[in-house]
């Protein structure tokens, strides 16, 4: 069991769920203990952190970003801007978590954020006093003098105030999974419309996935006091979920948020597997990112209630009226024992009725409409508005002002605000479609140009009645899947009251009226934005930070737009709307990474001799995804150079063995194989004899060297091509491009065989002698029978099929022996055993690199994607007698200048001096700067053969400067040494050894 850093030491029970009402979908037989800021409370299974805190009389749960205003929950869902806390502790601490969606579990530990020293007394609340100075965009206008002060004084202060929650700095201890699911119909949201859409599709036999972010399906049905047929809404929802559970073609995914709509019906969804648990099982993921491939999607994401802006509308205790209803009906909780409701539509009255039913005293329903409906149970004050509130850390009074300007204060600990509902259109606009304004609803509804194969139902489509939701869910599924609706049973009776919404956004005369509560954007800020010309929606958003907080503007964007519309005198529809972008709710970065972290970031490729090398104590190095032996330290060696020098000298004096399996190997067959290779290599291959190997240089079409390697002709119609380790995939892709796209009528077939063969370089004067001990006697590998650049199929060790190539990277007499990979380990061990008499020495990539530099062979550092065959000193290889990829564009003047770079060798005049790879070469005398740059060092190594460091460098007109003295500078590493330009072939320039 993994410890999730939860508090499970304290079981001190506190009584005091003073605001717990009756009823609700909580299990009162399962009490749960939890702490908030160190204090222990009790709630019930089924609670959220917010509902449990409210039950305990705690309204203050957070502080706002800029002014550090005291805040309590505004909502009961994922749109929450205020009740943001840190959950758990230690490395498991999770910042910026919504108390409104955090499921309560026993031992849950929560801490408030963005306050010091405590939530109730926050020193930074002083900002609120200076709010008149800290208006939208104030920082763009000041902090400029003196210039140096911005970074030294001002910015550090601003930065220190940044952010809400904190990262611990420790690695996330949880694991995350990623997965794939496919379906005919994806239903996003499990309210009445979603449940009906899923049921309709399920009964017709389609593969259905229904996902909802909540841990309990039913959507608003869980929050309302209403009936479907003769069942309570929540019970009906539960029965539908149970029904769906009987279908094998339905996958019901709760606690799963569909975060984004991507191209061609791919949806991202995050399932929270263990966030509601104190601990997880070993290997159990915290969350899973599902990529859902849906043929059709019905969006049933519901709607979000919108607030009304009025002065001091942000105190703890001020809530959306629908959220109040959720707390009362679903969780049996109220924020206080008395309430005022402020509404511009009938929905607020619903809250009043439900609260009243639950025993909460309704001080008044303040309705902006002069023709507001009246009620028996409580007072309705029509044609009035809420104009101010009181209460430092929590609401205690509400100011109500009538049309004549007469004001009075009503005492209340909670205030429910309802400005109507906005359809949750987010997923419809992730691909660029902008929602459209609906005059009847006074809200944005989904664009008619929905993402392909998506439809919208229920409140998300503007169907705000339960009856409408049920029917639109069925309709959407029928249309998407071509189900005949006449075959379906009749739907149960549900609430079908007409829903009207007025456009009432902001109480007249409001200034310190919050639109974006988390980021502290007020009506006044929007006015200033307008005054300064930031009137386009995107300008407004960026200038004021409206909608940029963790709640992504779900409760604030609409109000800001409306205020701007009023200021500019435009209809809201013309002001426009900002784009909704993924993710729908903020998503843990960990789940988007899944298992690809730590050592599992990339797969590991092991060479056939890996386990043997490990036994020998090899030091390994990452080469792409490969792990290769870098050197093989032996007893007494304390520095890597000792090992590498020994390996080089032993190879050059006797024999060494190196695993070079990682080189790409491509099998090229077909009657046109030679013609094909003639096309992809700049040098000729048509006339290469069977049994011979040739070095080949491949150019990109732009004439720059792409890769080099060898091609061995095993038969008239069969070559084996090698590539560099790094470019194996790229070269294969390129060759397939040439084969399929440029030469589609050649008879040639390609396949990679890199991993099929264990390939070992056996190099040094005793290489042949060693090989003769393993190569079967019928194969003559003498210099006459098997000369330099020969190749052929052989057998070894009494009949194992193998291939032998006489090629040399080290410059020594050398062979590369390939055997089937599973025998690679045994082959290496055999070579070591048989080579004992020659003191055979395994060598790693370092020694390999040293020897190739000594020999002047170009490798990755030289083939850096900007060098030409000319630069490499291989200009004559580019055949003019034929067309090959890149040959024409390699002729451009800029690639063929007289003073172009040429590969040369460098040796230090003082043998003790260091040659730095990456150093730049300057003339011996004269200034040292970019204008006088003569070239750069690509590769450098200590040559144990020569007893000093050597380097390969590209130098302007390099081949004409052999023997010149120059200066090698590396100001970055603070070195400057005198060097002599020499031939890049430091060892055996005539190549006698490799031909021996």
């Amino acid at each position: 069991m993994a410890d999730h850093g939860t508090n499970h030491g304290t079981h001190h029970r506190t009584h005091g769920q003073i605001n717990r009402l009756s009823g609700g979908q909580i299990d009162r037989n399962k009490p749960l203990s939890f702490t908030f800021d160190g204090k222990t409370f009790q709630g019930y299974h089924g609670d959220t952190l917010a509902s449990a805190l409210l039950a305990n009389g705690v309204r203050l749960m957070g502080r706002s970003f800029k002014y550090h205003r005291p805040r309590g929950p505004l909502t009961a869902g994922s749109e929450e801007p205020n009740a943001i806390v840190a959950l758990r502790s230690g490395a498991y601490q999770e910042p910026n978590t919504r108390a409104t969606t955090a499921e309560l579990f026993d031992g849950l530990e929560a801490t408030s954020q963005n306050r010091w020293p405590s939530l109730a007394f926050d020193a930074m609340a002083i900002n609120d006093r200076f709010s008149n100075f800290l208006t939208a965009g104030f920082y763009y206008k000041t902090f400029m003098w003196p210039a140096a002060f911005w970074e030294k004084i001002y910015e550090p202060i601003i930065r220190k105030a940044a952010g809400l929650g904190a990262l611990t700095g420790s690695a996330d201890p949880d694991v995350y999974d990623k997965g794939f699911r496919h379906c005919d119909l994806l239903v996003v949201g499990a309210g009445p419309s979603g449940l009906m859409a899923a049921r309709t599709a399920a009964e017709a036999g389609f593969e259905v996935i229904i996902a909802d972010e909540d841990f309990r399906f039913g959507g608003r049905l869980n929050s309302e006091h209403e009936f479907i047929g003769d069942q309570a809404g929540a019970d009906w929802a539960a029965s539908q979920v149970a029904h769906l559970g009987t279908f094998s073609n339905v996958r019901v995914m709760s606690r799963t948020t569909v975060i984004g709509t991507f191209d061609h019906g791919i949806y991202g969804a995050v399932e929270r597997v263990t966030d509601h648990l104190r601990t997880s099982a070993e290997g159990q993921p915290r969350q899973i990112l599902w990529r859902i491939y849906a043929k059709h999607t019905v969006l049933c994401a519901g709607a979000t209630e919108r607030p009304i802006a009025f002065n001091n509308n942000d105190r703890p205790g001020v809530m959306l009226a629908g959220a109040m209803r959720s707390y009362a009906n679903r969780w049996g909780v109220s924020a206080a024992r008395d309430a005022v409701i402020f509404t511009s539509n009938d929905d607020g009255h619903r809250t009043a009725a439900d609260l009243h039913r639950q025993g909460v005293a309704i001080a008044a329903v303040v309705d902006t409409r002069a023709d507001a409906p009246s009620a028996h149970e409580y007072a309705v004050i029509a044609g009035t508005t809420v104009t101010d509130t009181r209460g430092r850390l929590g609401l205690n009074a509400v100011q109500v002002t009538d049309a004549t300007g007469h004001s009075r204060w009503l005492k209340a600990g909670s205030l429910g605000v309802s400005g109507g509902w906005n359809p949750n259109v987010h997923l419809t606009s992730h691909q660029g479609a902008r929602p459209v304004w609906n005059d009847a609803l006074n809200a944005f509804v989904p664009s008619p140009s929905l993402p392909p194969h998506m439809s919208v139902a229920g409140a998300a489509a503007g169907m705000l009645s339960t009856h409408g939701a049920l029917h639109s869910g069925v309709d959407a599924a029928c249309k998407a899947l071509e189900i005949d609706p006449r075959t379906l049973p009749a739907l149960p009776k549900a609430d079908d009251r007409p829903v009207t919404q007025s456009a009432f956004w902001c109480v007249q005369g409001s200034e310190r009226a919050w639109l974006d509560q988390q980021n502290d954007v007020t009506v006044k800020d929007v006015k200033l934005s307008h005054q300064e010309g930031f009137r386009a929606v995107e300008h407004l958003k960026r200038y004021t930070t409206l909608g940029m907080a963790t709640d992504q503007g779900k409760t604030s964007n609409m109000g800001g737009l409306a205020v701007m519309a009023e200021l500019t005198g435009q209809p809201i529809a013309d002001v426009g709307t900002t784009m909704f972008r993924p993710p729908y709710t903020p998503t843990a970065i960990g789940v988007l990474a899944g298992r690809s972290r730590g050592k599992d970031f990339h797969p590991v490729r092991l060479t056939p001799s890996h386990y043997w090398a490990k036994e020998r104590g090899a030091v390994f190095v990452e080469v792409g995804n490969w792990l290769r032996a870098q050197w093989f330290p032996i007893e007494g060696e304390t520095h890597w150079r000792q090992s590498v020098d020994r390996e080089v000298l032993a190879t050059r004096s006797s024999v060494g063995v190196c695993d070079c399996t990682t080189l790409g190997k491509i099998d090229v067959q077909g009657t046109d194989a030679a013609v094909f290779l003639n096309k992809v290599y700049c040098n000729g291959f048509a006339k290469l004899a069977v049994g011979r190997t040739r070095y080949g240089l491949m150019l990109r079409e732009d004439g720059i060297a792409m890769d080099d390697g060898t091609a061995a002709r095993l038969a008239e119609d069969h070559f084996v091509v090698t590539t560099t380790t790094a470019n194996a995939g790229k070269v294969y892709q390129h060759m397939e491009f040439v084969r399929q796209c440029l030469c589609p009528d050649l008879d040639v077939q390609l396949i990679s065989t890199t991993e099929s063969w264990a390939q070992y370089a056996i190099a040094g004067p005793n290489a042949r002698a060693l090989l003769q001990k393993v190569v079967d006697a019928e194969f003559d590998i003498s210099n006459d029978a098997f000369p330099f650049m020969a190749c052929g199929a052989i057998t070894v060790c009494g009949g194992l099929r193998a291939r032998l190539f006489r090629i040399s990277f080290s410059g020594e007499l050398a062979f590369e022996l390939a055997v089937p990979a599973r025998y690679g380990d045994a082959m290496m061990r055999r070579l070591m055993d048989e080579g004992e008499e020659f003191n055979v020495t395994p060598y790693g990539t370092e020694a390999l690199g040293v020897m190739r530099i000594e020999k002047g062979h170009a490798a990755g550092n030289e083939l850096n994607g900007t060098t030409t065959a000319q630069n490499l000193g291989l200009g004559r290889m580019v055949s003019k007698a034929k067309d090959s990829i890149g040959s024409k564009l390699s002729e451009r003047v800029g690639l063929n200048t007289e003073d172009g770079l040429r590969l040369v060798g460098l040796r230090p005049l003082n043998p003790k001096d260091k040659i730095t790879a990456g150093g730049h070469v300057m003339s011996a005398e004269g200034p040292v700067n970019a204008a006088h740059d003569q070239g750069y060092v690509t590769s450098a190594a200590y040559s144990p053969t020569l007893g000093n460091m050597i380097g390969l460098a590209f130098i302007k007109s390099g081949s004409e400067r052999i023997g010149d003295r120059m200066r090698l500078v590396s100001p970055l590493t603070k070195t400057s040494v005198e060097v002599e330009v020499v031939s890049p072939h430091f060892v055996d320039p005539e190549g006698e050894r490799q031909r021996a």
Partner: protein, 416 residues
């Protein structure tokens, strides 16, 4: 109106009644000496320098939507001059120097924050390449610093040093690199240009060029024909679309690059970090969000949005490098259209059409180039000769073989 701390205090005490629009909203005139197409960072900077430095009059900036809505409004805010090649490094160093004096030049606090940028090194070959680069930077007058793994660990203890698939072996740091509040760059240049008499015309889309006898006489727009002595195009991702109206094909493809920001977090990341073994770079904004990104999606797109594989790829890189961010939440992601050129380097040049000039091909590096791009383009437009730091940014370099290919990827734009 000059902005200052004093002014802010005065306005606060007098009800903020004195603030005026940051730029005017003028009606288009029938003719300008110079018309800049594109009200992004580069276009607005060009106008600012044309008016303020090069003394040009009668300048208009034409923007099809709202200014600053393209890549200057949707990037990851990094500035740096850590380039390798001679064609690039002096230009980007010039740009960094302009950034360093930007606020005073514009009388606008764009929050240039030189908190440093670090490119991490994970292999010997990478070290060799970065040493070459660091040396090139220093030889061109920029700053660069080599750091070994221990030094990096002291500054960034939360990086993955103990469990890394590709261990951190060192880093190339540029202390003068950093970040800038990106939107403010557009607004600051716009406000300054406007104060120097430049007409900024929003919602003015160019629908065509009027070209007669090989000379560009002006542009057709959604607000009517506007004549121009010279026309400069600086429309980044829309370059292909726009220049096709002049009959030009470009060595440019438009690709989508996604960027990401996390929820606000208390400061933990001092500078900009670039992962060298995956596609991930990150900084932390003054508001506390981790601003991060990675590779382009890799296919031609004008859609300003990307897809999940790259989102995942970037977050994988992030978790591999900084495993503490697993519990931080991605708040928002978006896409910008990158004018990916054939060698990864930009073009600031005359076109074959008289009076028509082009600035583009910035790939995903345009933001840091904004001041120098504007300056160099203004130089070209005003004097008809390239600015000394931008002489290599020619159209014909692909014909002559003088590519400026930092990454060595050749003529495949999505690899740059």
């Amino acid at each position: 109106m000059r902005y200052s701390g004093f002014k802010v205090i005065k306005e606060a005490l007098t009800g903020h009644k004195g603030w005026r629009p940051a730029w005017r909203d003028p009606e288009p005139q029938s003719h300008y000496d110079i018309v800049i197409i594109g009200g992004g960072g580069h276009g607005l900077a060009t106008a600012h320098y044309l008016a303020k430095i090069f003394g040009q009059k009668r300048i208009a900036v034409l923007e099809k939507g709202w200014i600053g809505g393209g890549n200057v409004g949707r990037n990851t805010t990094i500035i740096r001059s850590n380039y390798l090649l001679d064609g690039n490094e002096p230009f980007y160093e010039f740009s960094l120097k302009l950034w360093e004096g930007l606020e005073q030049d514009l009388n606008y606090n764009a929050m240039v924050s030189q908190r440093g940028i670090m490119n991490l090194i994970h292999s010997d070959a990478q070290r060799d390449a970065y040493i070459r680069r660091g040396n090139a930077m220093i030889l061109n007058g920029a700053d660069a610093e080599y750091m070994d793994a221990d030094q990096i660990r002291k500054e960034y203890p939360f990086l993955n040093f103990d469990d890394a698939r590709f261990p951190i072996k060192g880093g190339l740091a540029q202390r003068r690199g950093g970040t800038v509040r990106h939107d403010a760059v557009a607004w600051g240049y716009a406000r300054s240009a406007d104060s120097h008499g430049v007409d900024i015309l929003q919602n003015c889309e160019v629908t065509g060029f009027r070209i007669e006898n090989g000379k560009c006489l002006g542009v057709e727009t959604s607000r009517g024909f506007i004549g121009a002595g010279r026309v400069g195009c600086a429309v980044a991702g829309s370059s292909g679309r726009l220049m096709s109206k002049a009959g030009m094909r470009l060595p440019i493809e438009s690709h989508v690059l996604q960027a990401f920001v996390s929820e606000g977090l208390k400061p933990i990341l001092p500078g900009v970090i670039t992962f060298g073994a995956g596609h991930f770079y990150v900084s932390q904004s003054d508001k506390g969000g981790l601003v991060f990104g990675g590779d382009i999606d890799g296919y031609n797109s004008y859609a300003q949005r990307g897809n999940l594989p790259v989102v995942e790829d970037v977050c994988e890189g992030g978790m591999a490098l900084m495993p503490m961010i697993g519990r931080a939440r991605l708040l928002r992601m978006w896409g910008g259209i990158m004018d990916m050129s054939m060698d990864g380097s930009p073009i600031i040049d005359r076109t074959h059409i008289d009076g028509l000039y082009f600035n583009g091909g910035w790939c995903y590096g345009g933001f840091k180039a904004t001041p120098a791009s504007g300056y160099a383009f203004a130089h070209l437009l005003a004097r008809d000769i390239p600015h000394p730091t931008a002489t290599a940014y020619r159209f014909d370099r692909f014909e002559t073989g003088h590519m400026i290919d930092e990454k060595g990827m050749g003529n495949q734009p999505n690899l740059h």
